[in-house]
């Protein structure tokens, strides 16, 4: 499978990474060379093999459904690039989403 410029733009859009036309051309070459190399996996017979998701075949634990830590507004907002503080509380601030 070889990526065309349209697909490169679509992937970049899905990944929310802005790309220039110049970058699309370069990325197309780089991504295609990586994908061509990856495609050697097609040589491996995997019919009937259970996919392995994690490095250790372990059962994931469930924890008790209780609050462990909370009320950390200030710590959570401390690194915000932009914040809004008003009568309703303290928030992360972003450009207007809903007109």
């Amino acid at each position: 499978m070889s990526l065309d410029p349209e697909t490169v733009r679509r992937i970049a859009d899905l990944a929310r990474i802005a790309v220039t036309e110049e970058e699309v051309a370069r990325l197309q070459g780089e991504l295609n060379s990586i994908l061509a190399w990856i495609e050697q996996l097609n040589e491996v017979a995997t019919a009937g093999v259970e996919p392995l998701a994690g490095a250790v075949r372990m059962q994931l634990r469930l924890r008790a459904d209780v609050v462990t830590e909370g009320d950390q507004h200030e710590a959570i907002l401390a690194n915000a690039p932009d914040r809004a503080d008003n009568a309703m509380g303290s928030f992360f601030a972003v450009p207007k989403v809903v007109e």
């Binding site: 499978m1 990526l3 697909t7 490169v8 992937i11 970049a12 859009d13 899905l14 990944a15 929310r16 990474i17 802005a18 790309v19 990325l27 780089e30 991504l31 060379s33 990586i34 994908l35 190399w37 990856i38 495609e39 050697q40 996996l41 097609n42 040589e43 491996v44 995997t46 093999v49 259970e50 996919p51 392995l52 998701a53 994690g54 490095a55 250790v56 075949r57 372990m58 994931l60 634990r61 924890r63 950390q72 710590a75 959570i76 401390a78 690194n79 915000a80 690039p81 932009d82 992360f92 972003v94 450009p95 207007k96 989403v97």
Partner: protein, 491 residues
């Protein structure tokens, strides 16, 4: 007494315990060394004041006879571990200005064991790389030089700052992380010891995530014993990491020096790559001969899917990375670039400006292999191949107790080499990546020099949660190799 910066952790522990050396002297010697050798660019952030305060507290405890296992030992911390109140960058512009409000479990354990924090070491951006040239804070210089060649060499990556700092005697040991070889490859390139323990041994909580099913923390140190001392302090069950293993932490140090007599050591025939250098082959054979002389039995084994480990990794790791790195959106922390459009424009502009080329490339590959219509062909296929690679090892453990391989296919290369296409760089991890896919412990031990006078490492891989055998075999190699070469640049 030798220069404080030349001490091993075990020696320093002994001198501190006998009050023949103070934690303050030891810390000051390292802070001075870091300043003098700042041209190596091994550290992104220095925490000199904090280090001196840590040392003062250590001296008080030592005076009271209340020393903890790492009391007064100055360490470097890979800048991928979140440290409360200390800027943490992952060597990326996108975390610009980020100061964690919490401490990673592994570093918390180190401070609770009495260690001194010297600062945060440089790395490849988000731990993605094998050369430490993708850092937004500039490349790290390997303290070793090729004979008759003045070019700067890479320290390996991604834990290049940690490895260079330990090799150049800027700290007694350092934390590192390994997703495909990022502890073992830089250790091999700098003549240091690096161990990636079993997946689940060290908590991942508070370590900036790259590929969560592969990431594992471990130490880099100058001796096998020192690596064992550090790993013990870093290990242990943590309820905050859902994949943390609830198993006891053995005294790894006690396993160093344990006899390898009667152990069966596998040498996998598939690791003999076409075109592999004669130097690497002879180093590997020498390693096997040392172990045979120490009473181990060497057996040829087969790990038939080895060839597919790297391409498998380069689907799984970018897929997980594309998901993990979705959180860097310019809203909650780090850099924000607002082009004045809508929220999507803010995300896209921030991520384009904040991520370097290699990180962007991997996010895009990961996004593609997870996208509708391609998931089965790439991601699911890779997970099946991963299962086969793990099965290869399961079968090997029926025959052998540990596996011996070279750590890297070459010694350190010059900065700028191997940059022509991404795949050439990826091949650095050909011997290390299998242990990540199968979740196994692997150590790199310096075992000799190449004809240019650069260090080469051997790797020992063990059964899950059997780091003790790995340490025993590594200790035997270390003893037989008698590696005492020193880097050209050091404190």
């Amino acid at each position: 007494m030798s220069t404080p910066t030349d001490l091993t952790i075990a020696e320093a522990r002994d001198l501190l315990g006998r009050r023949a050396l103070s934690a303050r002297e030891l810390t000051e010697a390292h802070l001075g060394a870091i300043e003098r050798l700042s041209s190596l660019n091994a550290f992104i952030t220095l925490t000199a004041e904090r280090a001196l305060a840590d040392a003062a507290r250590a001296d008080e405890r030592l005076a009271r006879g209340e020393a903890r296992p790492l009391e007064g030992i100055p360490l470097g911390i890979k800048d991928l571990f979140c440290t409360e109140g200390v800027r943490t960058t992952a060597a990326s512009r996108i975390l610009d200005g980020f100061t964690p409000p919490y401490e990673s479990t592994v570093t918390r354990k180190l401070w609770e064991a009495g260690a001194v924090c010297l600062g945060k070491t440089n790395l490849d951006e988000f731990a993605m790389g094998s050369s430490n040239t993708t850092s937004a804070f500039g490349h790290v210089v390997n303290p070793w030089r090729r004979r008759g060649d003045n070019r700067d060499l890479v320290p390996g990556g991604s834990s290049g700052g940690s490895a260079a700092a330990v090799a150049a005697r800027l700290c007694l040991g350092a934390t590192a992380t390994d997703t495909g070889g990022s502890i073992r490859q830089p250790a091999a390139f700098t003549g240091t010891v690096g161990i990636k323990p079993t997946y689940g041994r060290c908590s991942r909580w508070g370590i900036i995530a790259f590929a969560s099913s592969l990431d594992q923390a471990g130490p880099i140190a100058r001796t096998v014993r020192d690596a064992a001392i550090l790993l013990r302090a870093m290990s242990g069950f943590d309820p905050k990491d859902s994949t943390s293993a609830d198993v006891p932490v053995p005294d790894f140090e006690a396993a160093v020096g344990r006899s390898v007599k009667g152990l069966k050591i596998g040498v996998p025939k598939e690791y003999r790559l076409p075109g592999m250098s004669a130097e690497i082959i002879s180093l590997w054979e020498r390693g096997a001969a040392w172990l045979r002389e120490a009473g181990a039995e060497i057996r040829e084994i087969s790990l038939p899917h080895t060839k597919y480990a790297l391409p498998c990794y380069y689907i799984i790791a970018p897929a997980e990375a594309s998901s993990n790195l979705a959180r860097y959106d310019g809203v909650r922390f780090g850099m924000r670039v607002d082009p004045g459009g809508d929220l999507d424009d803010l995300y896209a502009a921030t991520r384009a400006a904040g991520f370097g080329a290699e990180v962007r490339r991997r996010i895009l590959i990961g996004t593609y292999v997870l996208s509708a219509g391609y998931y089965d062909a790439y991601y699911l296929k890779a997970q099946k191949v991963r299962a086969l690679i793990a099965r290869d090892f399961d079968r090997a453990w029926e025959e052998v107790d540990a596996i011996l391989t070279p750590a890297t296919p070459t010694s350190a290369f010059a900065i700028g080499e191997k940059q022509d296409d991404p795949v050439t760089m990826y091949l650095n991890d050909v011997f290390t990546v299998t242990a990540n896919l199968a979740g196994l412990p692997g150590i790199s031990v310096p075992a000799g020099l190449d004809e240019g006078g650069l260090p080469l490492g051997l790797q020992v891989i063990g059964r899950p949660f059997d780091e003790e055998t790995v340490f025993a075999v590594a200790g035997a190699i270390e003893g037989a190799a008698g590696f005492d070469a020193l880097p050209a640049v050091r404190a």
